[in-house]
Amino acid sequence: MSGISDTERMITLKTVEGTLFDVKSSIAKDLKTVQAFIDDSDDDVTSPIPLPNVFTRELSRILDYLNNHHRFRSGIEKADEEMARYDAEFAKSMSHEELKALILAANYLNVKDLLEFLNQTVADVIQNKSVEFVRNFFGIENDYTPEEEEKLRNENEWAFNGVEQD
């Protein structure tokens, strides 16, 4: 089992816009889609791996997240608090559009921990919001007739109290 040579290897990733990112293979392991591609290839991967569904802004954020988390994990004991603080800032720094785009990218690249964190972030955002807000957020068309919706709301009337206004 080669240990040292693995961590020094660099993988190059290319985003939609053509930007190249050099990534340590230890970080690339967290991008399961990329890792599977590497595992599948017969020869060593030397040319940049194109990622047709990932944009520069998203890949940059994902790598930032992974680099920081690797740093926290390998560091000293107090890392838990620092990591929590980093995560909170990370979530706050994005608009809802950016959050959605990042989820799609993390999903495509199969970055498990980040995806769970983002899913939780979105769940926290929508839980107290109105139905209209949630529709806008996910870009969903309302396919209920006004009568159907009225009926459904009445059935769940008590659940609509205490909901944040838009």
Partner: protein, 425 residues
């Protein structure tokens, strides 16, 4: 709509071939063009699988409302399999709720550390306001209410389901002459049998001849099983308003009074319909244990009592189920503390009395050994008001009648396809 599928390396071997060569370049330009379109495209719409995963992290009480988002969301949230999955996989701390009688309504208290709130709802009785009722217990999101003096009600506030169980149901094999209401019947337990998808009620009786009886009612089939043979002394447990703690397919009770640590906990396996015993920690000094009880904290069985000697409340949590050596002690600096649930970061939340004898909700920070009060919540006194902690769910209630209707419905569909006559119930 071109949905983005979850990338599963073991399954997506074909997809990865696209990464190389000309095809990738073509797709690059295609994706670029799509992005420039201002209208919705795959880059703005999250696929259903991701929505499913996100919704599993939303506390279930908010999901009831989100059924209105669209028909697709409604069917997703209303799906019994989704409810079951959410119930088991969503952290219980975000779905736990404290329900207390207040005084003619049911008050729901949410004790999340960052979302402490309460609201009232009328219990599902025909006569409003009800003359008197009590909260007995709960199981998988279903609450058991006792409506004096006539009947019991099983209720899921999130789905609105309620089912009345009248006392005439409660006397199957024992015919009382002239006595319609067996006032000496006592409800012992409320649990769930996963193997049958059935809810069980355990009831003890004192017959005219002073004989004790123990019966088990299946709420799915409305049929009775006598359990006299399974337990020699059904009045081992005599807690007036409690249905035990349901955990790992069994109902647990603390023997009353607490005289010895050995075999202090009685367990009823809902699948096997048998009883067994478990010991409490041997460190317990019986004479100092007042007002003892069982609770469920973070999915673990907990035994608590007011320590008369130290004026604390001792809470023993069994970290590993049925592993005697895994009992851990927590001492809460509050003499009347009743533990209710565990917060998402391991703090113990409960009810207690302040030094000024005001009843309130408290959160005990285990690491700092400090007790904080929830300032914006008012707690009804006295502490003896009936209450239960339950995990909210959208689970449907099993019923043989409903299942038969579904069966007939399916058969009718098939018959129509084959041109046969439709069966009526």
């Amino acid at each position: 709509m071109n949905c983005e599928k979850l990338s599963n390396p073991s399954m997506d071997k074909k997809k990865k071939r696209k990464h190389t060569g000309k095809k990738a370049k073509e797709e690059c330009t295609m994706e670029k063009k799509k992005k420039n379109h201002k209208s919705k495209n795959i880059l703005e719409i999250l696929p259903l699988e991701l929505i499913h995963r996100i919704l599993l992290r939303v506390p279930i009480r908010h999901l009831a409302r989100l059924r209105c988002v669209s028909k697709l969301w409604c069917s997703l949230i209303s799906d019994p399999d989704f409810a079951e999955f959410h119930f088991h996989h969503s952290p219980a701390s975000t779905n736990a709720c404290f329900l207390i009688k207040y005084p003619t309504k049911a008050q729901f208290v949410y004790l999340d550390d960052n979302d402490a709130s309460q609201k009232e709802m009328c219990p599902p009785f025909k006569k409003k306001p009800p003359s008197d009722f009590a909260v007995l217990g709960s199981c998988r999101g279903f609450i058991l209410l006792y409506r004096h003096p006539h009947f019991l009600v099983v209720w899921n506030p999130l789905t609105g389901f309620s089912k009345r169980i009248s006392y005439s149901h409660l006397s199957p094999s024992h015919k009382y002459r002239g006595i319609k209401l067996p006032y000496c019947a006592r409800l012992l337990g409320f649990g769930y049998d996963a193997s049958q998808d059935d809810y069980l009620l355990l009831v003890t009786w004192c017959h005219c001849d002073r004989q004790y009886h123990l019966d088990c009612l299946s709420l799915r089939t409305n049929s009775w099983i006598n359990l006299n043979a399974a337990l020699s002394n059904p009045f081992l447990v005599l807690d007036s308003y409690s249905c035990g703690v349901f955990l790992n397919g069994a109902i647990h009770w603390l023997s009353f009074p607490l005289t010895a640590y050995k075999d202090a906990i009685l367990i009823f396996d809902t699948k096997e319909r048998t009883f067994s015993m478990m010991s409490a920690p041997e460190q317990l000094v019986m004479s100092l244990c007042l007002f003892s009880g069982l609770a469920l904290l973070g999915g673990c069985l907990a035994l608590y009592y007011h320590n008369h000697g130290s004026c604390n409340t001792d809470i023993w949590v069994m970290k590993e189920y049925k592993v005697h050596s895994s009992w851990n002690l927590y001492q809460i600096p509050c003499k009347d503390f009743q533990p209710l649930l565990l917060s998402s970061n391991g703090d113990i939340i409960g009810r207690g009395c302040t030094s000024y004898d005001k009843v309130g909700y408290f959160i005990y920070n285990v690491r700092e050994d400090l007790l904080y009060r929830f300032r914006n919540l008012c707690c009804p006194s006295p502490m003896s008001e009936t209450a239960t902690v339950y995990t909210e769910s959208l689970l449907p209630f099993p019923s043989d009648v409903e299942d038969k209707k579904k069966e007939i419905g399916h058969q009718n569909q098939n018959d129509v396809k084959q041109g046969k006559r439709i069966r009526r119930e």
